[in-house]
């Protein structure tokens, strides 16, 4: 029989068990969200598709928004796909620990798995929306070039940023429920402060530095550059975003791990 040492440290979970639990919770989320709905995962593409239609009408037809020569619907959709991944993850991730109150207060497991699973479950939506994006590219007869090789980097940045924000908001929301409404309002405004419906080049120079402080700017602009326009992203913008994202992620992990032992007490 194995001899166990007395310890006052939290129990260690093997890496394999950790990832399998993350997978299982992700599956639970996906299945819980789409079971007993007729349209199923189709809802994952309906959201960006509907927004694309509205943006096309408002910004392109009525507002004469430039789209750099690309078809405006494609231009908007390429940014709406990552945007909705981000905003849906943050929205459900923020309240996830409170939603999982039942297991958080009754069993020990690494708490970050809960918001991580929320982000993970939105990857399924992201994949579905990306497939639709590929169809739209074909429909508009826009070809891809070698710059598409950079897509994984931007997706990684997108996921890391989403994780950073979700870990932060989910941890604080355990203590202060105000976070959830603040996040909801914030996300609505954030959509318009990110170059989703318009290109960064349309932003007046004096506001440009503020837009660069938004890590999503580099991600969205970069994805659009390599996918829709098949050209190099603006490296200056991308590197600022990447630095901000890494910094935020480190800070968010530190915040989460320093507060998570109190979750069960206050949740």
């Amino acid at each position: 029989m194995a001899v166990h040492q007395l310890t006052d440290k939290p129990p260690r979970m093997s890496l394999a068990a950790y990832f399998e639990l993350l997978m299982n919770l992700t599956r639970r989320e996906v299945k819980g969200r789409y079971s007993q709905s007729l349209f199923g995962a189709g809802w994952a593409i309906a959201q960006p598709l509907a927004m694309m239609a509205v943006f096309t009408l408002v910004f392109s037809r009525l507002g004469q928004m430039p789209s750099g020569g690309a078809p405006y619907p494609l231009f908007a959709f390429s940014a709406l796909v990552p945007w909705f991944f981000f905003s849906n993850s943050v929205n459900s991730g923020t309240t996830s620990l409170v939603t999982y109150r039942n297991i958080v207060t009754k069993t020990y497991f690494p708490r970050e798995i809960v918001p991580l699973a929320q982000v993970g479950s939105r990857l399924v939506d992201l994949a579905a929306a990306s497939a639709l994006f590929a169809l739209l590219m074909a429909y508009y007869n826009v070809g891809v070039g070698s710059w598409i090789a950079l897509v994984p980097i931007f997706v990684l940045l997108l996921v890391l940023f989403t994780l950073g924000v979700t870990l932060t908001t989910s941890a604080i929301n355990v203590f202060y429920r105000d976070v959830s409404p603040v996040v909801q309002i914030g996300l609505q405004l954030w959509l318009y402060l990110t170059p989703v419906a318009y290109p960064l080049s349309a932003v007046p120079d004096k506001y440009r530095p503020y837009f660069l402080l938004n890590p999503l700017t580099g991600v969205v602009e970069g994805l659009r550059a390599v996918l829709v326009f098949d050209r190099a992203p603006e490296w200056e913008v991308v590197s600022i975003s990447a630095a901000l994202i890494v910094g935020l992620l480190i800070a968010s992990i530190a915040l989460f791990k320093s507060t998570d032992k109190y979750f069960a007490d206050v949740i």
Binding site: T7, P10, T105, K106, T107, Y176, D265, V266
Partner: protein, 427 residues
């Protein structure tokens, strides 16, 4: 023998009061700037919040392979104790050390999702206890077999009954390769046969050198499973020691308190037409002293004073002993056919003597009634009369085998013969 669990001056304070809002955050930051102490537990001003001590300076050790019962009243800190040991929460001060893999059954199937099938939930639930897919694969058949859910394993769990849900939750927990198992009052769900099997399984774990902590209000289950008992009271350790001794002290105190708290007045709303009413009912022992505590050798005397507001021909007085938990009537003593009181009017007294009490050690309620001579019309009915308790005989754990469950002690002998049976029907 090595130590499985060790608490050193562990205390746990909780904030009570409203949930915190952003206003509180600003306020507490302001307090912090002014030098008032703030911490993550008390970020509010004024009297909005107060802290409660769920545990105060608790120290004890549990050796590996022990079965430890944790008893105490609601709010004594029993569940907080388990949460500290399972790392769901952390002590405000002091140390909590554990050795090995802890599995908590604070709520059965807490990690299950109703939309997932039983199979998927087994992997999810065991994963929450830290098992890998491979390890679960090895245990899967045993889990399903123990829970007895073969037929429904690929059905979403929302179709399960609550008993089945709990069974699968229990099965996953005990098959999650635990070194320490924490059980919190979870055996109250499920049917009797499952409870029996669950207790057997927990016993098996102890026999295999696992440590089991068991919270229950059911003293019988505690004593069947546990050799040691930890008695918690108001967040502190009241007593810790040999199960039989602690259980008896605890039961005597619980009984005494409950009996001391009972009002002397009889319940005001009661049945019956009221021609004859009990005025007072008291219990005495054989020596004539008023008491509520009896051993099974004692004589129980129930004395009821009554008043008949008008002349009544041959009323029948009945005294029944009712078990507090199950409501089973153990005994009914009736004056019918024994002594005809004739016509009663004005005050009188009836006395019923039980010359021995072959009852299990627990609390009982007296039920009294007065009916007419034909026992058709009721003059008075007291459904919850005075309580009394039968206390244990001080036998240790060893005398508490399964067959000592139940309500009554019937005197019996056992004769064993070898060879062919001499009498009786063959099966």
């Amino acid at each position: 023998m090595s130590i499985a669990i060790q608490l050193e001056h562990a205390s746990k304070r909780y904030r009570t009061g409203r949930s915190r809002t952003f206003v509180d955050l600003v306020a507490s930051s302001f307090d912090g700037l002014r030098g008032k102490s703030t911490d993550v537990h008390s970020a509010t001003r004024g009297k909005i919040d107060s802290t409660i001590h769920a545990l105060r300076d608790v120290s004890f050790e549990v050796p590996e392979g022990a079965g430890l019962g944790i008893i105490g009243r609601n709010g004594a800190g029993k569940t907080t104790l388990l949460k500290l040991i399972s790392r769901v929460t952390w002590p405000t001060s002091g140390k909590v050390r554990v050795a090995g893999h802890v599995v908590s059954l604070i709520e059965l199937g807490a990690g299950f999702h109703p939309e997932l099938t039983g199979r998927e939930n087994v992997y999810l639930g065991a994963g929450l206890f830290g098992l890998t897919r491979k390890a679960i694969d090895r245990q899967f058949d045993a889990i399903v077999e123990f829970a007895d859910v073969e037929r429904l394993i690929d059905t979403p769990m929302k179709r399960y009954s609550s008993g089945l849900y709990a069974r699968l939750g229990f099965s996953v927990a005990i098959h999650s390769n635990p070194d320490i198992v924490l059980v919190d009052e979870v055996l109250s769900v499920g049917d009797a046969s499952f409870r029996r099997r669950a207790l057997e399984a927990l016993r098996g774990l102890i026999a295999n050198g696992k440590t089991v902590l068991f919270i229950s209000h059911d003293m019988w289950n505690v004593r069947r499973l546990c050799s040691q008992i930890l008695w918690m009271e108001e967040g502190q350790v009241r007593a810790y020691g040999e199960a039989g001794e602690i259980a008896e002290r605890y039961m005597n105190e619980v009984n005494l308190q409950a009996l001391a708290n009972q009002g002397t007045s009889l319940q005001s709303h009661r049945g019956g037409t009221g021609e004859v009413r009990f005025e007072a009912v008291e219990t005495f022992n054989g020596a004539g002293a008023a008491t509520s505590l009896f051993t099974s050798d004692d004589t129980l005397v129930v004395r009821g004073a009554y008043t008949a507001s008008k002349a009544v021909q041959g009323p029948v007085f009945q005294v029944a002993i009712v078990d507090v938990d199950t409501g089973v009537i153990v005994t009914t003593a009736s004056s019918a056919g024994r002594q005809d009181p004739g016509v009663v009017v004005g005050p009188g007294e009836i006395e019923v003597r039980f010359t021995s009490l072959p009852l299990r050690a627990r609390q009982y309620i007296l039920r009294l009634s007065i009916t007419d001579a034909h026992q058709l019309a009721s003059y008075d009915t007291i459904t919850a009369g005075p309580r009394f308790a039968v206390t244990g005989q001080g036998g240790g754990v060893d005398s508490l085998a399964d067959e000592q469950d139940g309500l009554v002690n019937l005197p019996f002998d056992v004769v064993h013969r070898t060879g062919r049976a001499r009498a009786g029907s063959r099966i």
